[in-house]
Symmetry: D2
Subunit: 349 residues, 4 copies
């Protein structure tokens, strides 16, 4: 049984962490911080937790956090990096659900997040927490940069295509048409997020540029071992009038070699031992509701035209795209069963 | 570990039973029937179950069901009563999620369900499965009539008011203005149920009469020990554009004695030991999402005018209003922990 | 062709006024104010208006407003009363869509709106703009207090019951269980209003007391000519996960006389000449979508139990419940056809 | 004033035609047919029409239809082609909202719609009713094949790129990632369409092939004058949990020439005189709600990467994507103002 702290417990990733960790067999949540709700019971704010916890919010107290074995930061970008060094010095591990430890490229970080990095040295040792692709590194990590939601769908959706004997795809051709539920924007009083502005409506956003673009590029470079070839891929996110759920439709031009391979089989082999990545049978159409509340990503493949691959990749943005993957990473870091606390079945309907 | 059968595994209560039972520590689901999907894997129909089961649908085979310790009927009204007798003879217990064993009054059953009852003798021994109110009988029961969703909100919402030293309420004054998500209508190809007919829309239905009215009346008679005084209560259900969730707003005229009592305290005492009934603090407004996917019913009380009580009672219609309560009843019948398999936290947001 | 000004053009009632007035044959909108968007084109903020207007927002300039024949205030409570006197002096009529001119009872106004009334003398001459019930006064009015959305459904839903030869209902028995779409809360950056807090969710709110309660009481007193008998009626509003639409389910105890009357016929006669009030055939269930975008209120009546009347009353909260009724009142004030600019058919589906 | 008939008045395109035509200044709807609702008032089925019409459904009677100046077919594929010849002989014009007169390629028609064409000769003279692109032909047409909803967004989204002095785009690179509200699937009792299967959910469908693919290909061939170069474009439709609305995100590789052109300017010039096509300012993100209920298509352009164009194209699938464009075509055919009956402003929120 380890002791866990959560910094930033009033947002959607914070409450989702609680939903998972309060039922985790190896974990005790002992600290839960909030800048605004100090002293308030968390189940007063989130009645769904009534009967499951007596936790109260506290101000961020670094000494209390140091007593934890691991601290999750479910905070805005820029918070975790202020505290990581001190926590590490106290032998407390850090999982940041924001972007502080995702990008190794400091220039890109500063460009897209508008701030200087507070601890480049810590960043160097941080591990990018895409659990399936970086499992061995995660097991030994002290700091995890938990991936962005969109990048998770893209990496798991494309990873099997790379590091093959032959070059299967034309990297510069990749187009990611992504769609997310509204909870991805967080729990914030924002006019653009109110119900009547989003219900019964659909739109693209961030077409000219989105923070997850550099993260996707860097990640694909790492996966493929190829630098510079992904810079001009297209990534266009859209907002879907639903609470949870994310689907990326990914278009890739295949090489002759890629066209010749049985990609369905390739993917099934690649993910054969993975608990949380599901390659669906040919002809399937993964629905976001099939993973609602579950730490699961589902993939389906289509070749509707010669040398054209379409990958459909779905997840719950708050689970495999955020809190669930963070717990999965914690499980790896502490040697727990990888699916401890993550066995819940998606809520359908 | 008991062996469980589910008759009717393609509807929403069927798949919800699976979601709960597949993660139940004391249960193995061995039989799952469907009239139309014989031989098909259930996770082909409901991909949310992929990775959690290899079950396939089979035709209803009574000999296979007899091997089970308990059989759930997640079928239309009239199916369970055809098979109950034979199952009981084989020492297999029965939990019917339809109405076959809810009403003891055969005339009412025939009037509202348009069919003759097939086994009145079995019905006599059947126990009405409102877990909290009939717990001791349920423990010894062989046949359970699992309550309707609306009646569950009403009974738990009103039970503390009866069987007190004094008469607290005027029974004939009760008005139940109930609201349900669309999944309550089941998984059926029906024009009235399609998305574009229900989204961004609200309406009442069944105002002139609804099958749950006689069930509510009979149940309140049993709870209060008073016959004939509830016949003219009003019950008006409405359809809310949401998938899951049910809220009953119940209006009651208080007697002078009722007006003098601390009803908040009365309710809190009454449900003090209940795991699945939550009396919220005064001033609360229970939201359906606070119980999404959870076997939980939450109550709040208001006295906005003299001698007028307003009870707000919410649940997930598919869980505490159907499959969850059925599992709770099974737990009672077999001596399992009452919350075995039912500890999941509601999905919020 | 009259000249119209709108104060407060960035909220939902403001843009709904524009949607209606820009296609009104007798009206030219010349002034549109906003505290925050001075100089911005309105169709930049609301692209639905592109191609229909070149209007830009301006700061509130009383001299510009004085040039208008009528000014609509689609502002928070307390704005219209600051400017009404000066506008009236310039012979500019005023229609306030907030509460400044709804309640004649100053004490109630101060209690519920937390402010002193700025112009009690103007208030005395103001006419409560429930078009169908106060038509003749509205024709001669200079200041209109446009009714609240809930009170509109209640008044039109109950008006035929009063001022009959006999007493048909027990006034103190009235219970209004009301349900509204989310747009009724306005276009404001509020955490409680964001999509993920409201979608797939249902709740009551304001159970302990809501500003529309005193308005309903005062209005029913005026309609019935009876003072003091409505003080303890119940009014419980609920929030429905839909954008537009409002349904009030109203419960009334009938007297013997009321039980003997053909109420369906009474209602049909009462509203026989009304363009915007539709008494539906017996057995109907009015849906909010049947009035989406239309200046229409539909009523259905049920007597499910002896001496109990249930009235279902639906409207689009932004049209007949706000901007549409405001235009209807303007039409009356200026002698236009009552349905000028209001002939649009509801958007279904 | 012309006389209009509608065949198939119980579906969503039928009732949308009624919504538009009942307020059209130059039209009288005299015939409305239904196979199932003969004799029923249309406003009994669609209460949104109460007060606007006394029309009743009738069986399809060809002699009654012949008395009309124009007949709209809002029917399944294959109905219009059975009656077109006889109507034309009676000098009655035909607008088919299904696919009978969209594809000139009979092989494609038979392949995708699974039926032989009943009147190839009529088809030869039929005009494809994309109003803006075929205006002059439509004015003289007797039979209109009203375009599919998806193809409308694609053609208007791409038309300005073709028939320029230089080749601006690489035609084989076109990828159309399209998203539609659920009403596009029609008003049919289908399990896949029910509320609880679609709400709070997102998925792709028809990835392996969709009927609108050949229509898009043929249309782009006609627009560009180039045969054979569009055969392998990708078209992937998705289902959005909203009632109305459609957004196509279209990806195009630009040639060097295309990269050099000011495409924003090119589009604005191309559509400068169009009432119903709106090229939004650079940087805009068109939302489906901005055209809810309006006969309007909005376009925005992005060049997020070198030589890559992203076109966003939105419409209401039932209006500009179906009934609205059909009325626009009728206006052209009969010399009415092109926007007669089509001036309604979109319903926002």
């Amino acid at each position: 049984m380890i002791s866990v702290g959560i910094v930033g417990g009033t947002g959607y990733t914070g409450v989702e962490l609680l939903r998972l960790l309060l039922r985790h067999p190896d974990v005790q949540v002992n600290v839960l911080t909030s800048r605004t709700e100090n002293g308030r019971r968390v189940d007063d704010m989130f009645p769904s937790l009534r009967g499951h916890t007596d936790l109260c919010y506290s101000d961020l107290n670094i000494d209390e956090l140091k007593k934890c074995d691991v601290v999750f930061f479910a905070t805005p970008h820029g918070v975790a990096m202020k505290h990581a060094e001190e926590l590490l010095a106290a032998n407390t591990k850090v999982v940041d659900l924001a972007a502080d430890f995702r990008l190794q490229d400091l220039e890109q970080f500063e460009k897209w997040y508008g701030m200087q990095h507070a601890c480049p040295d810590v960043l160097k040792d941080a591990v990018y927490g895409l659990s399936e692709l970086n499992r061995e590194k995660i097991k030994k990590a002290h700091v995890i940069g938990n991936p962005g939601c969109y990048p998770t769908t893209v990496q798991l959706g494309l990873a099997p295509l790379f590091n093959q004997a032959e070059t299967l795809v034309k990297p510069e051709s990749i187009i990611i048409d992504a769609k997310s539920g509204v909870s991805g924007a967080g729990r914030k009083a924002s006019l653009g997020m109110i119900y009547s502005e989003n219900a019964d409506n659909f739109k693209a956003y961030g077409v000219a540029g989105h923070r997850h673009h550099p993260e996707i590029v860097e990640a694909l470079e790492n996966i493929s071992g190829q630098k510079g070839v992904f810079d001009h891929i297209l990534f266009v996110p859209h907002l879907v009038p639903m609470i949870r759920g994310m689907l990326s439709t990914i278009y890739v031009d295949l090489t002759d070699a890629g066209d010749a391979v049985d990609l369905q089989d390739l993917y099934e082999q690649f993910y054969a031992d993975e608990l949380f990545v599901d390659v669906m049978p040919a002809g399937s159409s993964p629905e976001t509701r099939s993973v609602r509340g579950a730490n699961q990503l589902r993939i389906a493949l289509y070749k509707p035209q010669p040398k054209k691959l379409v990958v459909l990749s779905v997840q719950d943005n708050l689970v495999k795209g955020a809190a669930g993957q963070a717990v999965q990473n914690m499980n790896l870091m502490f040697g727990f069963a990888e699916d401890a606390g993550l066995q819940g079945i998606g809520l359908l309907p």
